[in-house]
């Protein structure tokens, strides 16, 4: 019962703060938007805890809420955009239709998922799951190949940052 209540609190919080990232009035200011995102990450981290994925929960806070978002906020503050530079937010038909379609998909998804409770696939995790041990087993044994591939992915991202950002050498 407690788990249920916690889940709904965390999930609701995650969705609400995620919406705040883009929706006015909070989302109008990039800095507030970024801070909302950090909040959202915290809620998600709480969800990981509920799922007994402790390592993931800690990593989520450390890496995303900690390192990455700090970088975001640095960048936003360095740019120091004024309201004028941000311009007027516009309401377009595209946004309206888009929200409508996404809501429809969400409703459908909720219907489908709720009909799936009790499905054989949705089983409880067994002992050892979510621990450093279990995670290491997945990363370095079963999913070694994609894990190695991720290193290439990161390398590519680094190259991209360098290529796109560096000033022209004269």
């Amino acid at each position: 019962m407690l788990e249920q209540i916690l889940f709904w609190l965390l999930a609701g919080g995650a969705i609400l703060t995620a919406a705040m990232v883009v929706l006015p009035p909070v989302g109008r200011n990039p800095l507030y938007g970024a801070l909302s995102l950090i909040l959202s990450f915290f809620f998600i981290s709480g969800l990981y805890v509920l799922l007994v994925a402790h390592v993931m929960a800690v990593l989520q806070v450390l890496v995303y809420a900690g390192a990455i978002m700090v970088l975001f906020i640095f960048v936003i503050m360095l740019l120091n955009l004024s309201d004028k530079e941000l311009g007027q937010s516009r309401k377009t038909t595209a946004q309206f239709i888009g929200v409508l379609a996404v809501s429809a998909i969400a409703v459908k998804a909720i219907m489908v998922v709720s009909s799936a409770t009790g499905s054989k696939a949705l089983m409880a995790a067994d002992a050892g799951f979510g621990t450093v041990d279990g995670l290491a087993d997945l990363l370095f044994r079963q999913f070694l190949f994609p894990f190695e591939l991720v290193s290439i992915l990161l390398l590519v991202a680094v190259i991209g940052a360098v290529v796109l950002a560096k000033r022209r050498l004269t």
Partner: protein, 536 residues
């Protein structure tokens, strides 16, 4: 373990070559000519092609990896190898077109060649991936490299804008893909394609959840392969990206996307009730996407004046034709219909498409290198007089895309349509008719290019200087010649691609491939069996 490394040698070669060119590039003096790196990378692609060729003959019906980490993540079969070959060929030729093009665009950076290599790596892994995680990571490796390449002309707002658009929309599609993977996992409790297939076929999966995931996966791949209505980004990105990149993007992403989509659908959702049991099947969805894609692509292409933009719409139309290949149900040797296999249409068509597009975009690079890329068709006026060889190659490319006999494009269409007709008792005759009508409409815009090149005089006020580049001419020439060769004597290639399509019978069918793998049980024993992990 060493055997395993041998089995993924094409991947390793490409990775190493990418790293080498990246490192060597760092030591090259700033501002110096970096084109020689292209030859290094091309050599890597050539070596990897050789490795693919070697593995093709080593592999009887899908070689088994001895170590689990590979065998869970990768499938090595003729299908994957054949598509790797197509991708490598496209990468090889597209790299050569960039040698002098980049300096002309003032974007001659060493990273270009490393990025081409890494995106080719991503593509190759995509078509070999055996689980959804590997598939996703490979797709991201490919996509992010391509995003960067699309924006490689940093000085051009046009190029940067197209890269940004592609990046945002591509990330959006990635999100959809991840959601699709989550739903599929929720339905089956596994991310291994083979086990998803087992669960789905065995009725263990929650069917609505699985369908939900399936649709999202199709949508996400529909975005990557530019199937209407998920194609909106294509014209803008094709037009804005540097021509040498567009050429690679057009052929590589398409081959990888189709390869992955075909393997995914046939392995995971090959069961009859997901395939064509009723309206609730991916076949229906694919048919709809195919019809919309070819009609929209062809009609919109009619109105285009810019060659790159026209080729973008043509790419959408060809996606429509290619989607038809997924509907083919070949009969195996004992006359049984093999639901989880393809005919020879897909791979051969991709090959023909790759060659024609590399040639066309190569010519676009040569014409557009001096900063007139955004110009309309008048840039091509009188090309025949200025450079007969490029004009001829462009003609061959257009004729092949149009499907004129004695070009590879014609054989591709013939194989594909013929196979679709003879499979499934002719229920798709109407679809073939729609496709043929569409290909006739396409004559109008493909031939206009030829007409402009041959029959119009170049504008007198500002004649446009062509890029003088021997590697580009070699690449374009080879592509044109191969287009003719595969049009006149295609039988070997068609047989190989049929074999590739059939090989999915073994590797995607849980019963046969699973048995083969367990017969060659891994050298390293593990306490964690894949099933246990997945169900925990």
């Amino acid at each position: 373990m060493v055997d395993d490394l041998l089995l993924i040698s094409p991947l390793l070669i490409v990775t190493v070559m990418g790293l080498v060119s990246l490192l060597v590039g760092v030591f090259a003096p700033a501002g110096s000519f970096k084109g020689w790196l292209a030859f290094l990378t091309s050599f890597g692609f050539l070596a990897a092609l050789g490795a693919c060729y070697m593995l093709w003959h080593e592999t009887s019906a899908g070689a088994a990896f001895s170590s689990q980490s590979f065998h869970y993540s990768l499938t090595l079969d003729h299908f994957g190898l054949a598509l790797c070959g197509v991708i490598l060929l496209g990468a090889l030729l597209a790299t050569l077109t960039a040698v002098h093009y980049l300096p002309a665009q003032k974007s001659d950076h060493a990273e270009y060649y490393a990025l081409i290599a890494f995106s080719a790596l991503g593509m190759m892994i995509m078509v070999m991936a055996a689980d959804l995680l590997t598939l996703f990571v490979a797709l991201e490796v490919m996509s992010i490299s391509i995003y960067i390449l699309a924006g490689f002309k940093r000085d051009s707002s046009f190029s940067t804008e197209s890269a940004m658009k592609y990046f945002i929309l591509g990330s959006f599609a990635s999100a959809i893909l991840l959601l699709g993977i989550s739903f599929t996992y929720g339905a089956t409790g596994t991310i291994s394609m083979r086990e998803i297939g087992l669960a789905v076929a065995g009725g263990d999966a929650h069917s609505e959840l699985a369908l939900f995931g399936m649709v999202m996966l199709i949508v996400a791949f529909g975005f990557k392969i530019a199937a209407a209505p998920f194609h909106m980004w294509t014209p803008d990105v094709y037009e804005g990206a540097p021509a040498s990149v567009t050429g690679f993007m057009a052929v590589g992403v398409k081959a990888a996307g189709f390869g992955a989509l075909a393997r995914l659908l046939l392995t995971c959702f090959g069961a009859p009730e997901y395939r064509d049991g009723s309206a609730v099947s991916w076949e229906t969805l694919i048919v709809i996407l195919a019809v919309i894609s070819m009609c929209a692509g062809n009609l919109m292409a009619l109105a285009q004046k810019n060659l790159k933009r026209m080729l973008a719409y043509s790419a959408i139309a060809h996606t429509g034709y290619l989607l038809m290949a997924l509907l083919v149900v070949p009969a195996s040797s004992d006359g049984e219909q093999a639901l989880n296999a393809l005919g020879g249409g897909l791979v051969f068509y991709l090959l023909a498409y790759t060659l024609a597009n590399v040639a066309a975009f190569g010519v676009a690079a040569a014409v557009g290198a001096r900063g007139v890329e955004d110009a309309g068709e008048e840039a091509y006026a009188g090309l025949a007089g200025r450079d007969p060889m490029l004009a001829f190659a462009l003609t061959i490319a257009m004729l092949s895309l149009l499907g004129i006999p004695l070009t590879a494009g014609f054989m591709g269409k013939l194989t594909l349509f013929g196979e679709l007709l003879s499979s499934g008792g002719g229920e798709y005759l109407w679809l073939v008719v729609v496709a043929v009508v569409n290909s006739v409409v396409s004559a109008y815009y493909y031939l206009r290019v030829v007409m402009v090149a041959y029959m119009q005089d170049e504008s007198a006020e500002k004649p446009i200087a062509l890029l003088k580049s021997a590697p580009l001419r070699v690449a374009v020439g080879v592509a044109a010649i191969l287009t003719l060769v595969f049009g006149i004597m295609p039988n070997k290639a068609i047989n190989a691609s049929t074999r590739a399509g059939y090989s999915l019978v073994h590797t995607s069918n849980p019963a046969t491939y699973g048995a083969r793998v367990s017969a060659a049980k891994p050298a390293i024993t593990s306490t964690v069996e894949p099933k246990d992990v997945a169900h925990r």
